[in-house]
């Protein structure tokens, strides 16, 4: 799929002709490497049946959350689908809490009650992790509605897959979000597949950025393998939202290297296609920029890689050693009312 290039807006953070500081590049590299390495590890642990449920890996798509995190403000809100292991890491949550959630442990991000598909953190305004495909599209607009209502300047980033974009609620939401100029950025995490179904098998209009047009929603195709491109697109869209000019649709073209979930034989695509995308790997691209521009020495890079290894190790140990929930906790967090009269026999 072709990706149109984004013209770079004037950027205050500009420190060199790359447009981003050395610090920013190293942070992107480290954060994305943590996401990648932790998910590689998590994939193995899942195969070893160390934890149960579904396991949808984000590997290949890291630039989307890294570029969003670098461009957003602290008070902004985030909501996404079940492919949600990387979002908390991008927003600054220590990965050990995410891994503990995968293990269903008490120390997990959602107290072990949500699992892989339901990562929440009020600390960083991550409002899920949602397993019903497309559910977060109207909810994302609603979160933005509340910030607009309260007069806050916050923007909501609402991510969903190319498959989710086929739910009817998208159209209802786009219409209302435009009519009410809600401060929301709709991000299609367009990895070209919904389970075994490619985008072109679900539509007449393959360019998903077209979907905003009938609502006059500003829309754009973005190269999701480039963290810089994602950052610029998010920055531009969020400025528009913050000014009160309403939503933007970003069709961010990315790729998942792994199967839909861990039990996907992937007969719907070729090995060459996967290898092609690996050639544009977002982490390798950032590393190359760091190296060719000498933003860090080889030993500094090695240090980052060692740190990442240690963080991954620490996270797994933390999850494995954390306590299980206790049976009575089944009846907690169902209602805010403390003495709700559950039926018990």
């Amino acid at each position: 799929m072709p990706a149109t290039t984004i013209e770079k807006p004037v950027n205050k953070k500009q420190k060199n002709d790359l447009g981003f500081s050395k610090k920013q590049y190293l942070k992107w590299y480290k954060d994305m490497l943590i996401m990648r390495k932790i998910e590689e590890r998590v994939g193995h642990l899942y195969i070893q049946q160390k934890f149960g449920g579904f396991c949808h890996l984000y590997i290949g798509q890291e630039a989307l959350v890294a570029g969003t995190a670098s461009a957003c403000h602290k008070d902004d809100k985030h909501i996404t689908a079940y492919r949600d292991h990387a979002h908390p890491i991008a927003l600054g949550i220590h990965p050990k809490f995410m891994v503990a959630e995968l293990y269903g442990k008490k120390t997990g991000m959602s107290k072990g009650k949500g699992g892989s598909m339901h990562m929440f953190s009020k600390d960083v305004n991550l409002m899920g992790g949602h397993g019903i495909v497309g559910a977060q599209i109207p909810m994302g607009a609603g979160i933005a509605f509340a910030d607009q209502y309260k007069g806050n300047k916050a923007v909501t980033y609402c991510s969903f897959g190319d498959g989710a974009a086929r739910q009817g609620a998208l159209h209802e939401t786009f219409n209302m979000a435009m009519m009410w100029k809600l401060p929301v950025v709709f991000i299609i995490e367009n990895n070209n597949y919904a389970m075994g179904t490619s985008v072109k098998r679900t539509t007449n209009v393959e360019d998903m950025s077209e979907m905003g047009k009938s609502y006059h929603m500003p829309s754009k195709v973005v190269d999701g393998m480039s963290v810089e491109a994602v950052h610029h697109a998010i920055e531009e869209a969020s400025e528009r939202a913050r000014k009160g000019d309403g939503p933007t649709l970003l069709d961010i073209r990315t790729y998942r290297y792994k199967g839909h979930s861990m039990s996907d034989p992937q007969k719907y695509r070729t090995k060459d296609e996967v290898e092609d995308y690996k050639g544009k790997d977002p982490i390798s691209q950032v590393l190359k920029t760091i190296q060719t521009n000498k933003l860090a020495s080889e030993s500094e890079i090695k240090k980052i890689q060692d740190d990442v290894k240690a963080i991954v190790e620490e996270s797994v140990v933390f999850a494995e050693e954390s306590p299980e929930l206790e049976a009575h906790e089944l009846y907690e967090d169902v209602y805010t009312q403390n003495d709700y009269p559950f039926i018990k026999e």
């Binding site: 934890f51 269903g104 009650k113 498959g163 919904a194 179904t197 206790e326 049976a327 039926i343």
Partner: protein
């Protein structure tokens, strides 16, 4: 007889009916090229082609409504939902359209349609992916709700459902698709609305339906060893319910435990307990007992799942308390 998996039994039912009747077709997410998310429709695209085995986008409300319209206009759609949890998005078309079409049109437009898919908890899939919808849809007049608990029933009941001129919902399970069982060589149908006495017994009647019958069976094996003679009834459908079969059994055993994988309030067990106290009051020697899923959403943690689900132990405890023994 031959041994087939539950998924194969469902497939045979669809394939046989599609060979016989040109108006029957299958639609749903991943049913064609991917051969079904749970491989129920494996090979069907090859046999029937894309006109009759149709992949849909993820748009449950839309394709369920399209199927209802097609049913009003002379076709007999089979709609596969990847699971019934996702069919909640389509529930408007099932409940507001399909269930009511015949009456609203004064008998002019029927809705011969089958909605089928996985139902109930299937491991650590957390709150939205673990719900049991039997009683939810059983509440709705105009629908039939069928709960095949084994491959033999799956084939016989699905064939009847496809031939039925009213909307029929089939409650399957991701945890049953691989189950094996015997089915006859030749064609057979199982009527919708008749329960099956799976095992005769004298001391107590255990009523259940769907996947959880496997757990009931385990509990019964233990109880029989301890000298408790259990009569086991598989409802096979929860709308309609075969009340006569239940009353007959209670007249003999005088005690009843209902085992259900759903929540307690507004449940099938509540309905059965009402019916038995109303129509078999004089035959009951103990209150009707039930074993249910806990009255909370289904959490992810293994510990909480164990606490929530009906278990062999909880079934045995309920039976013993009904028999006033420890």
């Amino acid at each position: 007889m031959r041994t087939v998996q539950y998924r194969e039994a469902l497939r045979e039912a669809m394939v046989e009916e599609m060979r016989k009747d040109e108006t029957v077709f299958l639609m749903g997410e991943e049913v064609a090229e991917y051969n079904g998310a749970y491989k129920v429709s494996q090979g069907m695209l090859d046999e029937f082609g894309p006109k009759r085995v149709i992949d849909t986008p993820i748009a449950e409300l839309g394709f369920a409504g399209i199927a209802v319209g097609a049913a009003m206009n002379g076709l007999r759609p089979i709609v596969e939902f990847m699971t019934w949890n996702f069919a909640l998005l389509a529930s408007d078309q099932i409940i507001n359209s399909a269930a009511k079409m015949l009456q609203m049109s004064g008998g002019q437009y029927s809705c011969p349609i089958v909605f089928r898919g996985g139902n109930g908890p299937a491991g650590q899939l957390a709150a939205t992916h673990s719900q049991s919808f039997e009683s939810f849809y059983a509440h709705v007049p105009g629908l039939k709700v069928v709960t095949p608990s084994n491959p033999y029933d799956a084939k016989g009941l699905l064939k009847s459902a496809i031939r039925d001129n009213d909307p029929v919902l089939i409650m399957e399970s991701e945890k049953m698709y691989g189950d094996k069982g015997e089915i006859p060589e030749g064609e057979y149908l199982i009527p919708i609305g008749k329960a099956e006495v799976k095992k005769k017994g004298d001391h107590i009647t255990i009523v259940s339906f769907g996947k959880i019958l496997k757990v009931v069976q385990e509990a019964v094996d233990v109880l029989e060893k301890e000298g408790v003679s259990c009569e086991v009834i598989d409802l096979r459908s929860v709308r309609p319910i075969d009340y006569d079969c239940l009353v007959e059994s209670i007249k003999k055993t005088n005690r009843c435990v209902v085992v259900e994988e759903s929540w307690p309030l507004a449940s099938i067990s509540g309905e059965i307990a009402f019916h038995l106290q109303r129509y078999a009051f004089d035959y009951l020697d103990a209150p009707v007992m039930r074993v249910m899923q806990a009255d909370t959403p289904f959490a992810f943690s293994k510990v909480l799942i164990e606490e929530a689900l009906p278990s062999v132990k909880r079934i045995i405890d309920a039976v013993k308390s009904s028999l006033y023994v420890r």
